[in-house]
Symmetry: C2
Subunit: 382 residues, 2 copies
């Protein structure tokens, strides 16, 4: 029996696959960041980001992971004892909660079951009861579950108040529609290792004028992430930017702009629909009640150790999907269809899953999942 | 007259030139960071960093610029109203000052003229008068001036007290000797776009057990840079690490380890000596009284606009040196000999300088600076 070449298929919700053209862009000669030559590249990257955020607001480039941008949002908006609302329906809602508490916020938590969406009515009711709320923190796509929140409808509620709406769009941006200006979202944060098809190392944050007013008044001590410094130096950076990653960002936004935002959203929807048809055909049950198009979370069949299944897929087949976190560790599996992926990546993960499940004793017809995926692809005219 | 190809010579104190082997390492396939495959690469990078820091303490990898690591040091060590000493002899001493004040420190500033070193006696005297000082913040090489501080001697003073010694070695590490454990330095921070020969985007921080005790007691609100989380997850990362930059770090430390720390220090000394002989032969005056081997700062000759000279070198000749900052803007020039450089890079900058100075009306014998550089190189047996 011949040993196969093990190719690398990244089907976890970040880092996602990076096109070779973007990888090589990062291998270009490093130039000094305080030069007009560099600034031109950064400006192009920012212009593209504004398009992808669907905003005329500035988009600030941070040298950090996505969590850094989340901290930037909190430490620039939340002063000690400020009343704020945090929607918590998973690991990353919980991160908002921890950040807001760390920086002294008086937090009203709206806790939802993992994978369940908050309703605009719940937000409205909480805001009505607490007219002094300064900010509402929520999530476009909850990476730990694949659940989404109805940001457009939430924005319609929040923009009628003095509060600002802050959205963690780290894994959600580009995979799910978000129109920052049209919807009236005040703050959007993301990381580039997801829909932007880049290696990790840059986080992005955009602020509406309403949010910037709060930033200017905020008394929380901060320095590296102080957005006043970023606004003052914009489109330049206050500290050394990650030059070669910015080359890559500039290339990535060029590719994404050429594709067009509507098409980006639509291809993610098709990949999500196809994946779901496939896992359903295999008889698996969905985990998230209100799933978005970033990833599909499914219960691992009874009697199978999810950790071992994920490890088998990764180490034997080269397919990296994510397992569950916290109370669903070993119980769910998260298959991402995010970023630089095509229909055949969905075929690959479905085929791998069919073979792996059978190997682990879960008897399912080989090819059944792939067939269902193909049916969706054919129907969608892909 | 033919137009020349404009090659890119980075002679500013960061970013510094990146070897093509390191650039290409970053173009390798991105893998998921929560895998044993990735962790092996990060562990190798950390082992190399420990050697280059000359320490057995953990070295934490931060996804940030160097300023992020400086903030990590301050926000993890300085609680509100803690008495601390900050040595300020340039832009980056000033950054320690701003950071320490931002996070509520009760700062005793030792202010020195730009380019002038603090003495161990001054530190001792201030510590004797203030036995309740928690930390002393200083700088190995002050990037804005090229001045150095006597860290070994300062460490000998500080380690006799309960205070911890924190050294900004962002531009200094590898170009100037620093033996963290042997000298008793408690905290060292650096960035990789200097002596490490990498594109920017990673900062490094190492903490002695004495410093970690303070970290564990520190009450300053912090999250992204909370070193308790980094220590808990070590050698793994609490948040998504900049995967492809860590590939490059792993490659860079391999190359540097192979060269050997003593040789790295020695080649920086020779490049500094050669540069200084050259600029002296051109009749230029040095700016920093206590210069280290990272960069050579010189006064721009009377009557020449330093900003224009720096721009000419960059835009016409492709040689990026740095100008002056703040009160010496347009008045000094900073020529770095830092990182991935050889003797011929010194020859290039000297030759470019000779031609540019003559172009700007400062009459000096063509070849005189290069001759002096060559004499040092020959004498050193390079």
């Amino acid at each position: 029996m011949a040993k196969m070449i093990r190719k690398n298929y990244l089907m976890a919700p970040g880092p996602t696959p990076v096109p070779i053209d973007i990888l090589l862009e990062g291998a270009k000669d490093t130039i000094h960041h305080r030069t007009p030559q560099y600034l031109k590249i950064q400006e192009k990257a920012i212009e593209g980001c504004k398009y992808l955020f669907q905003t005329e607001n500035p988009v600030f480039i941070l040298s950090s992971s996505g969590t850094g941008a989340m901290e930037a949002a909190v430490s620039n908006l939340v002063s000690k004892d400020d009343k704020i609302i945090v929607v918590n329906s998973g690991k990353f809602g919980e991160r908002w909660l921890k950040l807001c508490k760390t920086f002294g916020g008086n937090v009203i938590e709206i806790k939802k079951d993992w994978g369940t969406a908050v309703t605009p009515e719940e937000i409205k009711e909480t805001l009505d009861k607490n007219p002094d709320v300064k900010a509402v923190f929520t999530t476009l796509n909850e990476t730990s579950t694949g659940g989404k929140h109805p940001i457009k409808e939430i924005a319609a509620v929040v923009k009628e108040t003095s509060a600002v709406l802050v959205v963690d769009a780290i894994s959600g941006l580009l995979a799910l529609p978000l129109k920052m200006d049209e919807w009236g979202v005040d703050v959007v944060v993301t990381g580039v290792q997801k829909g932007f098809m880049m290696p990790p190392g840059i986080a992005l944050i955009s602020m509406s004028p309403k949010a910037m007013e709060l930033v200017n008044k905020c008394t929380t001590p901060r320095f590296y992430f102080d957005l006043k410094a970023y606004a003052k130096n914009f489109p330049d950076s206050p500290y050394t930017p990650p030059v070669n990653l910015v080359y890559q960002l500039s290339k990535a936004v060029e590719m994404l702009k050429e594709e067009g935002i509507e098409n980006i959203w639509e291809r993610h929807r098709i990949m999500a629909d196809a994946t779901r048809a496939g896992v359903e055909a295999l008889g698996l049950k969905f985990f998230a009640k209100d799933a978005g198009d970033v990833l599909t979370s499914v219960w691992v069949p009874e009697g199978i150790d999810g950790g071992k299944l994920v490890k088998y897929l990764r180490d034997e087949m080269g397919i990296t999907v994510a397992g569950g976190q916290d109370h669903v560790k070993g119980k769910i599996m998260r298959i991402a269809h995010l970023g630089y992926m095509s229909q055949f990546d969905i075929i690959i993960v479905m085929s791998g899953l069919e073979m792996a499940l059978n190997k682990f004793g879960y008897k399912t017809e080989l090819g059944a999942g792939v067939k269902a995926v193909e049916e969706v692809l054919m129907r969608e005219g892909v």
